[in-house]
Amino acid sequence: MASTRRHFLASVAAFSFIAIASRGHAQTISRALPWHPFAGEPPQPSLAGWYFFNPDEARAIEAIVDRLIPADDLSAGGKDAGCAAFIDRQLAGSYGDSARLYTAGPFMKGTPTQGYQGEATPAMRYRAGLAAVDAYLRKSKSKAFAELSAQEQDDFLKSLEAGKVDLGAVDGKSLFNLILQNTMEGFFADPIYGGNRDMVSWKMIGFPGARYDYRDHVTKHNQPYPHGPVSIAGSPEWSRKS
């Protein structure tokens, strides 16, 4: 079970760590409150490079997240904020292959109240989806998504969001929703997962991050909180990755 509890990229170091942790988890416990040093499961900082996306996919997803979250006077864009790298790490881990979900058949079309009933995992949906987007655009505009102008990219994404793009076997609208959801996760999650670089989104909205103790400000009603954000890895300098 230990390995499915981890959703960050499993490096070699992480694997040897799991073995120690699960050996430490006694199965039968009596007469003691067990405690082992270093038995917890801290998240592992995200490393450089691509783990899931191939070069074409990486180009496409970087261009997409940069339109979903464009650079402007409020913040850096999705690409510089690390949203594509975040999605890459997520797809390479237990989120990508739905390791934690119920994936047994039979697969049937359900009612909207029954939730997602597809067989494809997020990793499969990205793989098929990004290829379908570029194939569609190459055919209609002789260009991949990343090669379009910003305006053309926005127009295409709006049509995709509205369900107006026929990507064949790929459901464009639900692909759009998946990418949007993961992009926002990356933009607002702790920087340790590769997105929200330099806590850019937290600074923008005024979220102090991982501080954990606000007792001195509870009754200071309607007054701005005076401190900037910290992340799990600490200050912006320490959390700067790749």
Partner: protein, 588 residues
Amino acid sequence: MARKLPRKDVVIVGLGWTGAILAHELTDAGLDVVAIERGPWRDTATDFNIGYMQDELRYAVRKDLFLQPAQEAMTMRNNTSQTALPMRDYGSFLPGTGVGGAGVHWNGHTWRFWQSDFQTKSHLTQRYGEARLADLQVQDWGVTADEMESAYDRFEYLCGISGKAGNLGGKIQDGGNPFEDPRKRDYPLPPMQMTYGPTLFAQAAKSIGYHPFPTPAANLSKPYVNPLGISMGQCTMCGFCERFACANYSKSSAQTTILPVLMRKSNFEARCNSEVLHVNLDAAGKMAKGVVYIDQNGEELEQPADLVLLCAYGLHNARLMMLSKIGRIYDPQSGEGTVGRNYCYQTNAGIQLFFEDKNFNPFIASGACGQTMDDFNGDAFDHGPLDFVGGSGINCIPTNGRPIGTRPVPPGTPRWGSAWKKATKDHYLSSLGFSAQGSSYAARGNYLDLDPTYKDRYGRPLLRVTFDFPDNDIRMSHWVSDRMVEIAKAMKPKQYVEGRRNKSWNSVPYQSTHNTGGAIMGADPKTSAVNKYLQSWDVPNVFVIGASAFPQNAGKNPTGTVGALAFHAADAIRNQYLRNPGAALVQA
């Protein structure tokens, strides 16, 4: 064949809130107790680490601490004409796993139900006539608020609940909930310091004549030493409470209130990463012999015991009874059978307010720090001229400002691009929500049984949930939503947006992990699965403890009552059952 282990006096299935309470009580009575827990061992010092517990992606979005559907899923449908399909990811509710159960990652709103809740059927029939309940299957619990008072008191003092009494021995107290039943003493701790949003809500509610009061919270307003001698710390308002474990020893849970004492007892043993498959019955199906479980190495083991306690969370209790053939599974057509009967939920609605000139600092929050008003809860108000029964507590309890999940923007805002970004920034600090947590009354067609198609990883049928909100509850919720609009207007926001409750129940968006019924208590074995002491009518050495016992749900979070029922059952076992083990405490 399962390898047979040495006998124990008591085997407890699940080491969450109720399992820990029962284990503590019965080891104190000198019994040899083993608790078998499906998930891992977890404790504050090791697992709820202050260095990385505040991780929204891991714990709130990817749900690291919760039961994973790969381990055990459920199927759902809204009515019997549909085919149930598996909830491939849990959404609407999020069952717990591991030591501490769902008590690890709850909010801590800790309520008492009222006499009018315990006697839902007789009270409402007497006041409004039988016809008013025609479409419902509500029932009495078989206990009174008076009988439950000391059990509530023990759970509240175990936890160190922060609150203000509203009714001490019949005398209404300023600043408390005037609608509650009499309590013998005040809460162990004073209310939490109030944040800005709930303070404004309370002012507005008071200005229209309502009675807001600080929500009773299992987030501690002060350091506390509980009756077991365990120390807890003051809540730091960290804003990572619901879905997270507390790294400060400030949220009441098995970890912070019981385990440090329980785990040191020589007559207690916890077995983790071990999933109970079923209860073993004797050949006649009249007595339990123990349980069969699979440990983390995949070995099947039999644990014989004289007494079996199902403390696996309400939904899992019901499924384990079905898989073990304890009692008969409910049939909605004939109305016969009791296991799975009267599954209920919670009928919630919300409202979101957008201001221009306010800063709520939404990240300064805890799971239960806020204000509630019960003017429209239960039967606190006259339903005579209305067309429903039941009601809702109205709660302004902003629990967090975690930005993946909490960034309200007004309707019409694009979902991405620069305009989205600007709106997100403009409204993050200056919006506030409050909500109605409504009663959920039993209806004939809402029930639990075993799915005919989908199986778990051991090949056993999944639990099937068939549920939709009864018309009565929808009418109730809309009526309370109208009251919420009045309060919202009194708060003078720039804009407010309603989130009304409509059919059908959707398993995707989170609503609450307040699943009740399925093994309900009562006075009649034809319409209840357990007696008033939570003892199975069919197999008397099995007790079934949890919200599975609720005949229907009130407009309140369940765990105050679940904890009280755990003490109530423990008392019955210690003071009555052990004198004559194996005998029914109530004659059918």
